[in-house]
Amino acid sequence: MAEIHSERVKEKDLDTIMGEDIKFSGTLSFSDPLMIKGEIEGDVNATGIIYIEKDAKITANIKASQVQIRGQVIGDIIATESVQLFASAKVTGDITAPKVKMENGCFFSGKCQMSSEDSV
């Protein structure tokens, strides 16, 4: 199986980085790319790209344009463009997106629905 060769995003280019020591509970919305390394509980409602890093723990329903997961997610994910699960990703919940990539070694438990780009 071909591995996903996607370039790692540079932290310098990101406007919002939520560090390892951050614990947040509540609703989060944003339009620029965002990286999460800490813990989040609640809802993520965004029109931008979300990067969920290796040590991150998300207990939330995520809505975004693109979702890249290297950490742990419990909740449903709805993306208008794509969802990528890397080898270290652990996802429990349903994924709805027009494009879904899963790397060898990732954990995914839930339904996966490939929607057409217009319907999301």
Partner: protein
């Protein structure tokens, strides 16, 4: 204070609604509604709008705050910031051109330098230059 070691930033186009806690440093540039509790340093940039209560160790404020700010060590309010709420800390530094509507309370603390009993040189060392 050095800003190089900041690892967490909440950017301009973000809206947070809820409770947040952190240990080291956090910079807020966007909108935040809720509470922040931390043993670290919180920077509120001039583009930020904060509604809620802040309870941290150190706080540097340049934006707009509606709510109370409590710091264990120090609150620095930079020019052009607007605060509608109470400030509470052992050391409070307020720059020119700041709008504050609320009470300002200096907590008595054994670690705090008493300005009436220290020499001018010691006082100069204790002041942070922005």
């Amino acid at each position: 204070m050095k800003k190089d070691n900041i690892i967490a930033t909440l950017g301009l186009n973000t809206v947070f609604n809820g409770n947040l806690s952190f240990n080291d440093f956090l910079t807020i540039k966007g909108k935040y509604i809720g509470t922040i509790t931390s043993g670290g340093t919180l920077y509120i940039e001039d583009s930020a709008l904060f509604e809620g209560n802040i309870n941290v160790k150190n706080s540097v404020i340049a934006g707009q705050i509606i709510g109370d700010v409590t710091a264990e060590e120090k609150i620095e309010v930079l020019s052009n910031s607007v605060i509608k709420g109470n400030l509470k800390a052992p050391v409070i530094k307020i720059a020119d051109g700041v709008e504050i509507q609320g009470r300002c309370q200096m907590i008595q603390d054994a670690d705090t330098i008493d300005i009436f009993s220290t020499t001018v040189n010691q006082l100069k060392k204790s002041v942070t230059i922005i």
